[in-house]
Structures are given as structure tokens and as C-alpha cells.
Amino acid sequence: MRRQLALVALCALAACAKSGTGSAGASPDGAIGYVRMSDVIKHHPLYSQLAQYETNIDALTLGGVVPHAVPGADVAKAQAALSKELQAAADRTKKLLDDKQKQYQAREAQAIGEALRAAGVSAPAAGAIQSQVSQTAGQQSAAVAQTAQRDFAAYQKSLQAQNQAEIAAAQRAITDKANRTYRAKQDELLAKESALTLELANRDAGARLALKTKLSSLALDDADRQDAKTKLDALDRGEADQIAAMKNRDAQTLAALQTELRAQVSKDIQTQVTAINARDLAKLHTRETDLRREFTGGTTSQTTTVAAAGQTPDLTPALRDRIAHLHADYQKQFTADAQQTIDDFQKTRSELSRRFAELGGADAAAGGDANAQIASLQHKHDQLYSQMVDQIKREASVIAQARGIGVVVSDPVAETRGVDLTDDVAKDIETLHE
């Protein structure tokens, strides 16, 4: 009877040893075990931090870094606006030059008419010429004023659109910079928290294993079991308290940084908006003054006047010289004035080119910055992952040894007879920091 009981007990123990795998895949030749690391990793206490790294990498990647070879949509839009502005500036310059030419021709014609009259050219001839000049000048002056008004309105509209785009871009750039600063700090603190968590787990691994082994002993009496359990709880609580204290400190640091960054963002945006508005207002004012100056004065056709003068037979050589001198004089003035307009255009073009370069540079700098941050985050992610895997491997080894499993591998492609330790390791790893 005693022998039969012993047999039953031994059978029960053997059955326990086999059913203890907790796995449907356990089989009589289950000497090879395996762990699905991708499943176990999700049960690790640090998984949320690993996932946070992945989220941050996603955010940076989707934030416009991937299509890095081509400019971002906003930058492309801004560049198109600048191109349009450059074309408009070229058109305006051409029109200004045409108008100036007419203006100088008119002044020249008037001066020649006066010279003709002073030289005694018959009044009807000079009067006819002057009447024609006045009529033409009136029509042209009205047309030019109208064009100038339209030109100014278009410029104002273009400037307003550009102003709004610049303000929006500045706001985005400042906010992005602050966000990057915040996330960098957040990642830094996260890495420190992970390091402390792992350090504590590693430090206490020996003691924890000894206590767990003791607790699994059937021969342990109640007092010793309670003592071991109390010590294990104290170990877990000690670790949890240290980690919680660090997390609290980090949360405070982040809250303070957020307040500081918000204030800084608000201040920086205000400064930028004021600067952009002041610059655009000054531009508008200059433009208005220039247009007023440039389009005041009469207009006529030099050729008409010169032809009229040429048709008059009684011109003395001195009068012809005077006319030639007047022509040369106005030509010189026109050339100088036109040069000023061309110089203004060149300045505008240089300014626009500089802003083109800035746009491209800003985009590249932002992309480069984000790329470096992605690389850094990826490195931290891989480091943490590797530390977590090492810890899982240690726990899996202990389980395998206790279960008499000779070889354990991770992530097989498929299995038919191996012992699946995934669930057991997952449960064990979950309790690490409970």
C-alpha cells in the first residue's frame, strides 16, 4: 500500500513537472524550448517607455523628414510666392522704365517748345505744338496715375499675403524648436528612468531569485514563507519607491520646462511679428512715396516735339545747338533715373534670392536636426530594447533550468514539438516591478 502511494505521489510529481509548462506545445521530447520575444517584450515593465521612443520616432519621421529630398509643402508654397513676387517686381520695373521714358520725353519736349518760343518761332506753330502736348500729357498723366494706383494696390496685397505667410512660418519655426527642446528633455529623462529601473532590477536579481526559489520550496514552514514573502515585497517596494521618486522629480522638471518654453515661445513670436510688421510697413511706405514721386509731372512725346522743331525752317545754328543740348541733358537725367530704378530692382531681386536661400536652408536645417534626433532616439530605443531582451533572457534561463529544458531559443519561424515558454516568461517578467 505504501509502495502504491509512493508511486502515485511520484506519478503526480512527474505529471506536475510536465503540466507545469503551461503550454499546449509541451510534448514528451520537449527538451527544446522557445520564447516569442516580440510577445514577451510587450509584458516588460519598460515596454511603455520603448513604445514612447517609437511614438517619438514616428512623430519626427512623419513631421516631414522622410520626403527630405524635396522641399516641404509649405516651403514650396513660399518659394512659389517668392517667384511670383520676383516676376511682379520685374514687370513693375519694366513699366516704370517705360513710364519714366515717356515722362522725360515730355519734359524734354516742353523745354524744347519753350526754347522755340524764346527764339521767336511763330506763336501759332509753337502754340499748336504746346496744345497738342498738353492734351497728350493730360491723357497720359491720368492713365499713369491709374496704373500707379493699381500697381500700388497689387503690391500692398502681395505684401500682406507675404506678411501673413512669414508670420505663420515664424510661429511654426519657434513652436517646432520649443517642441524639439521639450521632447529632447523628455527623452533624456526617460532614458535615465529606464536605466535606473534596469539597474535596480539587476542589482536585486540575485536576492529576488533566492527569495523566489525559497518560496517555491514545498518544505518551507509558514513563518519562513511569510518572512521570505515580506522580504520580496520589501525588495519590490524599495525599487518601486525609488523609481516613483525619480518619475515625480522628472515630471516636475518637465512641467517647469514646459512653462518656461511657453513663455519663451510667446515672447519670441511677439518679437518676430513686430519685426515683420515693422519691416513690411516701411516697405509699403517707401513704395508709396516712390510712386508718388515717380508719377508726378507732365508727359508728351519727344519725337512729336522734335519733329515739329525740325519742320520749322528758320532755326538758327545756336537754336539747333540749344535743342541738341536740351536733348543730351534730359537723356542724361533719364539714364541716371533709370539706373536708379534698375538698381532698386536688383536690390529686390537680391533680397528675394536671399529669402529663397533662407527658405531652403531653414528646411534643410530643420530636416537635419530632426534626422539627428531620430538617429539618437533610435540608438536609445535599441539600447533599451537590448537591455530588456537581456533581462527576459535571464528570466527565461531560470525557468528553463527549473523545468529541465536543455536549449531555449528565441523567435523560431515555426515549431512542432518545442516547449513554448512565452507565457511563463511573460508572467514572470510582468511581476518584476509589481
Binding site: L7, A14, A31, G33, A396, G406, V409, A414
Partner: protein, 257 residues
């Protein structure tokens, strides 16, 4: 009689554990730090830097199509040089691993990175052979049958239905990337951002479960069926099996086509 059977039953785990002493592993990372490999690596780097300079010079002013061609030529030349420098070293390492495995009656040698517990570590034996003045001698016999099999995942990935599933998922991901990227631009707070990213992840997970997972499950099932028929306990990826093991790739690709 009953006691003998019981004793055998109780001793089963230990006896079965002994069965798997025919699985060895090598730390390939440790082997790559041997002077011969380090030297080859330095040579390849120097060659690569020099070649890169030449190609950058040639790529200046070239059209995009020409640049792509130049890039392919560059890759091909680098691969050729790599083969030239590392080919003999890999060959020698392969022979050394086979030699040690044979002398220790191992049926399979796998990479250390996937070993969690147990197995026979032959790294130091292989290192000794590789650093000895004479070349390692290849074993006479081929590796005995193993309970570990392997498949070449890249060949399996080329099966039409798997390729189609992966392409469908890649296209979906591309659309999701664009959509999430646009949404992130208008996010006004950290919580907006997190919500967008959460939706993005969920959309990818759902699509993966719908499009890719069924095909992967089917493939896994096919691999398990083939393995069962051939008496294989575990199937690993080919890149993880360095010596021995049973190649199941062609049977599996035939089964899932």
C-alpha cells in the same frame, strides 16, 4: 516492471535535455573582432572611401538617371570588393565551424544572438582554429540529421501571394504616412499629436492584421506542416543557422504557392 517504467518516465526531462546537447552556437560578433576580419574591414573601408570620392566626382553635373546608374555601379563594385576580401575568410570560418561541430557531434550550429539558454558554445574552439597558422581541415562526414530545420525567408517572401500582401500593405502605409504627416502639421497640442499617432499606429496594425497576418499565418502553418512531416522540432531563419540543420525552403515554397 512498473518501477522501471516509472523511473524512465521521471527521468524523461533530463534524458531529453541530453538529446539537445547536439545543438551548438557561435558568437559571430566575437569572430568578427579577430585580426584577420578587422584587417579586411579596414581595407574595405579605405577602398570604399576612395571609391566614393571617385563616384562623387563623376556624379557632379550628371542627370538623375545617370546618378542612379552610378550609384548601382558603386554598390556593385563595393560588393565585389567585399566578396574578394571577406569571401576567403568566411570560407575558412565555415570550415572551422564544421570541423569543431563534427568533432563535438553537433548536428546544428546556430547564431548566439537567438540562444537564450543551453547549447554548446564553440566560439573559442572556432577562434583557436582560425588563429592557428595551419588551415582548418574540413570534416569528412556531412552533418547528421538534426531536429532543427531552417527556411530562407527571402525566398519565401518572393512567393506571389506574400509579395502582393506586402505590396498592398506598403501602399496603405504610404497613404497613411502622408495623411498622418498632414494632420500632424495642424496639431495644436501634445495630446493632438499623440492622438494622431495613436490612430496612425492603429490603422497600420488593423491593416496588417487584415492583409499580412492571414498570409503569414498560412505560411507559418505550411512551415509547421513540412517540419512535422520531416520530424523537425523547431524551424529557424536561415540567417541564424551557421552549420547543419535541414533546409525546408523548397518544400515550404511549394506548399504555399
Amino acid at each position: 516492471m512498473a518501477v522501471t517504467a516509472l523511473a524512465a518516465f521521471i527521468a524523461a526531462p533530463a534524458a531529453l535535455a541530453a538529446d539537445v546537447t547536439d545543438i551548438g552556437f557561435v558568437d559571430q560578433g566575437a569572430l568578427s573582432s579577430l585580426p584577420a576580419f578587422q584587417n579586411a574591414s579596414r581595407q574595405l573601408n579605405a577602398y570604399g572611401q576612395n571609391l566614393q570620392k571617385q563616384y562623387i566626382g563623376r556624379a557632379k553635373g550628371a542627370s538623375q538617371e545617370q546618378q542612379q546608374k552610378l550609384s548601382q555601379q558603386f554598390q556593385a563594385e563595393m560588393a565585389q570588393k567585399q566578396q574578394q576580401l571577406f569571401g576567403p575568410l568566411f570560407g575558412k570560418a565555415q570550415v572551422a565551424i564544421a570541423s569543431v561541430a563534427s568533432s563535438k557531434n553537433l548536428t546544428v550550429v546556430i547564431d548566439k544572438s537567438i540562444v537564450i539558454a543551453g547549447g554548446v558554445d564553440i566560439t573559442s574552439n572556432v577562434r583557436d582554429l582560425l588563429t592557428s597558422p595551419s588551415d582548418p581541415v574540413p570534416p569528412v562526414a556531412t552533418p547528421p540529421p538534426s531536429t532543427v530545420g531552417y527556411v530562407d525567408q527571402s525566398s519565401i517572401d518572393n512567393v506571389a501571394k506574400i509579395k502582393t500582401a506586402e505590396q498592398t500593405f506598403a501602399s496603405f502605409k504610404n497613404d497613411q504616412d502622408k495623411s498622418a504627416s498632414d494632420k500632424l502639421k495642424s496639431a495644436k497640442s501634445e495630446s493632438d499629436r499623440d492622438a494622431i499617432l495613436k490612430d496612425y499606429r492603429k490603422a497600420l496594425d488593423d491593416e496588417g492584421a487584415k492583409v499580412v497576418k492571414p498570409v503569414l499565418d498560412q505560411t507559418r502553418g505550411a512551415i509547421a506542416d513540412v517540419a512535422k512531416k520531416k520530424g523537425i522540432a523547431l524551424v529557424l531563419d536561415r540567417t541564424m543557422v551557421i552549420y547543419g540543420g535541414t533546409d525546408l525552403t523548397s518544400d515550404v515554397t511549394g506548399a504555399i504557392k
